[in-house]
Symmetry: C2
Subunit: 503 residues, 2 copies
């Protein structure tokens, strides 16, 4: 009885810290959508203050005491019970934050807020020099963070662990090496094929207003609940959950690039469906939170690539697109449009990269951020090292920094160890979709009717509703019957791109 009461008290305290964290999320959303330039410095002070107050809540002695009273009791004896999962994940976060001095947490919040604004300007001005001092400050702070958190092999590991609990640089290498080994010959074969789509179809004129309408319709069909969320405009697409009934997607549109906006929406709405699929009654506790960034990314990738770049998808949606963009699509067949949306090419921009080469963009960033955090690479040398990494993985180099190391906001936001979860997401998405296809024999037919209800119900039931009950690899094992593997992704890519480019 006493343990149960302590457990309920712990959950109440934990919901309280989650509530405060969600206030920061509102300020972060505004920062990336509507904040005027003159407000950046003050926003940094606001977020630093909230981060400090949040740190205080998470590291409160009462939470530590309650955890101590509950751990090793019968309440949490069954390792994957909801109670055990909540206690396990609260312990993980408390241990992390307890090792970080509040001053460091505040300084990171302040610095990364301003750095994100500077990144936006640096990218527009193509000026790495503008961003360099901010990145230097951030890597100094993140090395301090890693030192406080502690590590065995690399300061990269405790940073990575924030996003993908339990993952290590060495463990990633063990997945990424075979991925690269098998992907490279497939990619070379595709790039060497004489069969090429006509990508200029996607560079015709697609009025932005109509792109918004079209992507809103598809988002609604996917299951995005507009009463519990919104889609705004921003520079760097993202999705953030501000509360149990408030999930915000932000994207950008380019009238001369259909894919950039549309697939950003599919991607971010994929994230949003996961957020909207968690249990609102568990909001603020680990059981109401998403499992890991790799799992999160699997949801976005599944909708963006596996679904959104499939032939059945366009069988259904191209007729509507033709009505909205008659001048650009009147003469375009489904075959040609589907092929154009699956162009494989070595390019410089990660966000616009295709499914096949995308993974190389991540491998390059993984090498670079590991070297930066381990001290093997100085921030000043990043532009050159970026060129080198792109040569190594993709055989190309940027001609200027805006299309090179200034393209991503992540490091400016203090997100080190975040990029690998994108590649993990690709692997997990393929593995989940294989399982879903086996469970739902009519899946392709449903997709070709624009009907995603069964798929979404499957995802909600098998993945979303479990929150953090299972760690990522356990969840994958439970859902697919196999441990995480690169094999399903390779199978899926070989099948699809073999048919388009090689058969």
């Amino acid at each position: 009885m006493k343990t149960r009461a302590t457990y309920e008290e712990l959950l109440g305290l934990w919901r309280d810290q989650a509530l405060l964290a969600s206030c920061s999320a509102v300020l972060g959303w505004d920062e990336q959508t509507y904040l005027p330039r003159g407000g950046a410095e003050h926003r940094g002070n606001q977020l630093a203050q909230l981060a400090g107050l949040h740190h205080e809540k998470v590291t409160s002695p009462r939470i530590a005491d309650a955890l101590g009273e509950i751990e090793n009791t019968d309440l949490v004896a069954t390792s994957d019970s909801p109670e055990a999962a909540n206690v396990r994940e609260i312990r993980r976060v408390v241990d992390r934050l307890s090792r970080l001095p509040r001053t460091l947490v505040e300084e990171l919040a302040r610095t990364t807020t301003i750095a994100q604004q500077e990144w936006s300007l640096a990218r527009r001005e193509n000026s790495f020099a503008r961003l360099q001092p901010w990145l230097e400050a951030i890597f100094v702070l993140k090395r301090q963070e890693a030192a406080c958190l502690g590590y065995v092999e690399s300061p990269y590991d405790p940073l990575l662990d924030e996003f993908e609990p339990g993952a290590t640089a060495r463990g990633l290498d063990a997945v990424f090496q075979p991925l690269r080994r098998e992907l490279t010959p497939l990619c070379d074969a595709i790039l060497g094929s004489s069969r090429r789509p006509d990508p200029s179809i996607l560079r015709r004129y697609y009025p932005v207003d109509r792109q918004r309408i079209f992507s809103d319709v598809v988002a609604a069909a996917m299951g995005f609940d507009f009463e519990k969320g919104r889609i705004d405009l921003t520079e760097h697409p993202f999705c953030t959950q501000l509360g149990p009934g408030d999930c915000r997607v932000a994207t950008r549109f380019d009238a001369r690039n259909f894919g950039d906006g549309f697939y950003s929406v599919l991607h971010e709405v994929g994230h949003a469906l996961y957020d909207q699929g968690t249990d609102p009654a568990q909001y603020g506790t680990p059981m109401g939170e998403t499992a890991s960034l790799g799992i999160h990314e699997s949801q976005s990738r599944l909708w963006e690539n596996t679904i959104g770049r499939s032939r059945p998808f366009w069988d259904h949606w191209l007729p509507l697109a033709r009505q909205l963009f008659p001048d650009s699509l009147r003469d375009v067949t489904t075959e040609a449009f589907h092929f154009a949306n699956n162009l494989v090419a070595a390019t410089l921009n990660r966000v616009e990269a295709d499914e096949v080469t995308y993974n190389f963009h991540i491998l390059a960033r993984f090498d670079l951020e590991k070297a930066l955090i381990e001290g093997d690479l100085a921030v000043a040398d990043l532009p050159d090292a970026w060129s080198g990494a792109y040569q190594k993985y993709l055989g190309i180099s940027p001609s200027h920094d805006a299309e090179g190391c200034l393209q991503d906001i992540h490091w400016s936001a203090g997100l080190i160890g975040y990029f690998p979860t994108y590649a993990l997401g690709n692997l997990f998405a393929a593995q989940f979709f294989e399982a879903a296809s086996a469970d739902l024999p009519g899946l392709d037919a449903s997709i070709s009717k624009g009907d995603f209800a069964d798929l979404l119900a499957w995802l909600r039931n098998r993945i979303h509703r479990h929150g953090q009950r299972y760690r990522a690899s356990d969840l994958i094992n439970r859902v697919t019957g196999s441990p995480p593997s690169h094999a399903p992704l390779l199978r899926s890519l070989r099948r699809k791109y073999g048919r388009l480019y090689l058969d």
Copy 2:
């Protein structure tokens, strides 16, 4: 030395609470612009939590001790020194909040957040029944607030005091009675005049996109700094300062009502110029805050009415408006357009009311909210009482609640005692503009060239930069050489409307 150090410490603590209050302001802005419906309940919880944390900061023992150590020392001996003003105004807020239990503060924040969303729906559905329980809860809470704060004559007084320090219901009566006495015959004469403008000019088609462009241009010309602020869309126009470089205006546009959107922008930008004119170095201390809501409103009214409805204003801006709205304005003379923008009529909508009858809308609300808070009127009887008040002051009654007591968000936001500051703003604006006209002989000529620089500099120098150094009536005395009076407003209205309707 010691006192100075304690004073600096106090300012630091005070800036800290202001920083947290500004976080709530961000969440409040979002609530009124972009919050999806499903997020309302959680937003209420967020704002309640922040209100509680803020209450804790303001009522911290260290602030009370520091105040005690500084008061009655030489540092604050000169009553209108910056130091004395800061200490005086900090004391005022600390005393207020110390009397309010934290639970009440949190409950008010939570209830008013949800009530504002309900108001929005109730207004759309024309359903007073939907809002009634929320208003009942709010008036119960506000009566509790008044009881905690204490009062001599009326529970209305301590609520009014939040917005207009030192004001009382009795004091307002002393201003509002002569105002009504002198205004009524003037209004009757105007309404009885055979000379009437053609208001249908303003009901032609004004595309919303172009209204946005036009009002943005005028806002920029007025001096609104778009690098330190933005203008968004909302249901109920407002302005809020989120930080020293971040002032947000929100407005609405109606393609068939030119005045509604345009004058809302002028009004809210008038507020914004005051916010943007406070000293950023003093941000977070009383010296960096605006003096009172009456003074604040004087700035918005001055730009909206005194400037924006003047003949010199339209001499300059109508040609540009004609370029943007050629079909609607091609055949319209400056004379006719100016007259149309100065239509005087007994109408039901406060926000759209003209300068003359506007004050009657406020007198009606003042009577009603005083009766509601004093317990002489039940919320359930509000629709009938509203009709009665409009009959009394304007001789008309709403045919349904959406155009009656559901038109304003204020009571749903817990703002009781706020409306009178609008009428005070009208008085103060006229008094300030008389003084400015005396100081700046070429003012009308500048306005007719679209040049507001001298006027803005005068406002900044005489009013904005002083923050809360002087209480409202002292400030008016210093700037105009006279105590607050209704006479300048009457002079101004008689001159302008006499020329248009009566001479």
